[in-house]
């Protein structure tokens, strides 16, 4: 958001994201509001924001590998599962504190992601998408057939604590989750505007030309998968310690599809797009939750099935509408609004 008449007088200013004191004011007051929110916000809203933030971390990762690097991945739910299980096992079995387990589960998921991303060195597009679906099922199968993961029963990790203070409620977890989201967003946005981000986009837009510019395709594709899965792993760890129950049913292919849907609706190749997409789908889900009982009551002759599948129908409909009318997602709309705001009050 840049008002008319703000000009860049140096390259440093030209590449800055936050330019004017008004930007800083808005940013800081938003952060203060966010951190004070648990003091007056309702329990419902707080737990909604917690889940929203975890999805944002997952989709940020997906944005990096699919939106920026162009490698479509349907494995994000499985990598999130790797993070959730790693974190649970580390804290329950080995007594490692949550604060160490959080980055470690990201690294573990990243390492699995490098293996999962290896097919991208050979195949592209739809074929790679199929390969990542296969990886999803392999990961879930392994989780269900290992003893250390508690197979079908799952695991029960403890909420994190620091010096005797337990983060055992949604209000308390809110602080951890929101802080992690802020750090992860900051890192993703900056990474994507530096050398590595441009190398990713080079691979997405034209891998041959990227190679001629000196981009090592193998290294950067695997790096994209590592970073993406690191995000998923961190999100998985937060999820595990927020819900304090982990089992394989929380990480289905449907979840992975939902993340890809959030990405498409938000807009590929845009960090703000992640927020728009996640918010859109999550709000849609909440609306469905409110309306489906009413629907079941209004149409009793249809039984409970339409109410139960309303969520899927709404998701599919939203995807179809966006793919037809705004394939570049909400982020594109946002860009259009921003550039017209920059010119306001002039027409062009």
């Amino acid at each position: 958001m840049r008002p008319c008449g703000v000009f860049d007088k140096s390259y440093a200013l030209d590449i800055a994201i936050i330019r004017t004191w008004q930007h800083w004011a808005v940013l800081i007051s938003a952060l203060v509001f966010l951190y004070l929110f648990p003091l007056f916000g309702s329990y419902y809203l707080i737990s909604f924001i917690n889940l929203l933030c975890i999805s944002i971390i997952v989709v940020l990762g997906l944005q990096i590998v699919s939106g920026f690097c162009g490698q479509i991945s349907f494995g994000q739910a499985a990598f999130m599962a790797v993070g959730a299980y790693t974190s649970s096992i580390l804290t329950i079995r080995y007594g490692i504190s949550f604060w160490l387990a959080l980055p470690l589960s990201g690294i573990m998921a990243g390492a699995v992601g490098i293996i999962g991303g290896a097919p991208s060195l050979r195949i592209k597009g739809m074929y790679l998408a199929m390969a990542t679906i296969a990886i999803h099922f392999v990961v879930i199968w392994v989780i269900l057939h290992m003893e250390i993961t508690g197979s079908f029963k799952g695991l029960y990790p403890m909420p994190p604590s620091i010096g005797g203070f337990e983060f055992d409620t949604d209000e308390r977890m809110f602080y951890i989750i929101v802080s992690v989201v802020i750090i992860m967003t900051y890192a993703a946005r900056n990474l994507m505007r530096s050398k590595v981000g441009r190398a990713f986009v080079a691979i997405r837009d034209n891998d041959l030309a990227g190679e001629v510019m000196g981009v090592n395709l193998y290294y950067y594709k695997l790096l994209a998968f590592f970073i993406s899965c690191f995000y998923a792993g961190v999100a998985g760890s937060l999820w595990a310690h927020l819900i304090t129950v982990v089992n394989a049913e929380q990480f289905t292919l449907l979840h992975a599809l939902e993340y890809v849907g959030m990405l498409i609706i938000g807009g590929m190749g845009s960090i703000p797009g992640v927020f728009f997409g996640v918010l859109f789908i999550r709000i849609l889900n909440e609306l469905v939750m409110f309306t489906s009982p009413a629907l079941a009551k209004a149409l009793p002759w249809m039984g409970s099935s339409p109410a139960a599948s309303l969520g899927l129908i709404a998701f599919g409909l939203a995807m179809a509408v966006f793919l037809i009318f705004e394939p570049r997602g909400l982020a594109h709309r946002w860009e259009i609004f921003k550039s017209s705001y920059r010119l306001y009050p002039f027409a062009h």
Partner: protein, 261 residues
């Protein structure tokens, strides 16, 4: 001509290069030297193997026989990104830009081989990475200035007209600070004014950097005007090599272009 002073020190030596696609011999037994500080044109009818020749030099194709030496370094089996890191830059016949990025970001992406800070510092951004970005931005702005593309700096290249995209393609190669420039038909599909502009830019670059330039071009007027030496390819073989005037009068070249009388 100044290039003659260095004529005995080839920058690129291509020796007995053969390239095959199944039964098709795209290049056979081609030997070419690129001298220090010269503009070398490669001409020939369609399908003569000109682009294949460039693709071999920058590592897209690996020849079936022969070798390519760049200042005594063997390029024959190297991957394209390794060859790029040695300072060999190229442009493409069909413009292979990063269409989702702005012209500026396209050029910044060409600074890849010169940038040192990896992912971790990139996440932090403030501090070393920001300093690096600004330092490289200054180099990019020099190229923008040279090629007169200030007005399209922040435009997404996918939306630019053809001539401008050609220019971004050349600028991107220049931003690599190359030691050798390979240009694949830089003037294809341009009108006379655009061609003149492009020829002027190529000469500007040559005057400024004194790097050897290998140029594939169909427009014989351009080739005669700006190139020091010409290599003629036909059906994957080297037909002739020499100064512009000699090539123009060469019997075999005329026959290759016009057919038998």
């Amino acid at each position: 001509m100044s290039h003659r002073q260095h004529e005995n020190r080839p920058v690129i030596r291509v020796r007995r290069l053969s390239l095959r696609f199944g039964g098709l011999e795209a290049l056979s037994n081609v030997s070419v030297d690129v001298q220090e500080g010269e503009i070398l044109a490669i001409i020939g009818p369609n399908g003569a193997g000109k682009t294949c020749f460039l693709n071999c030099i920058n590592g897209f194709y690996h020849p079936y026989e022969g070798e390519i030496l760049y200042r005594d370094k063997d390029l024959t089996r190297l991957k394209p990104h390794k060859i790029a890191a040695l300072g060999l830059a190229r442009t493409f016949q069909n413009i292979e830009l990063f269409s989702g990025l702005t012209a500026l970001d396209n050029l910044m992406s060409a600074r890849h081989i010169h940038m040192r800070h990896g992912a971790l510092l990139g996440c932090l951004f403030f501090g070393p990475t920001r300093k690096e970005e600004i330092a490289h931005r200054e180099r990019v702005e020099e190229v923008i200035d040279l090629l007169e593309m200030e007005s399209i700096r922040k435009k997404t290249v996918g939306s630019l007209p053809y001539g401008q995209r050609k220019k971004v393609d050349l600028a991107r190669a220049l931003c690599m600070d190359p030691a050798l420039l390979l240009l694949d038909e830089p003037m294809a599909g341009m009108n006379v004014e655009e061609k003149e502009d492009m020829a002027r830019f190529i000469l500007d670059v040559y005057e400024l950097k004194k790097i050897p330039i290998v140029l594939i071009e169909h427009d014989m007027d351009v080739v005669m005007d700006i190139c020091h030496r010409i290599v003629v390819l036909d059906f994957g073989r080297k037909l002739a090599e020499g100064r512009a005037q000699d090539i123009k009068d060469d019997e075999r070249v005329i026959r290759a272009y016009l057919g038998e009388a």
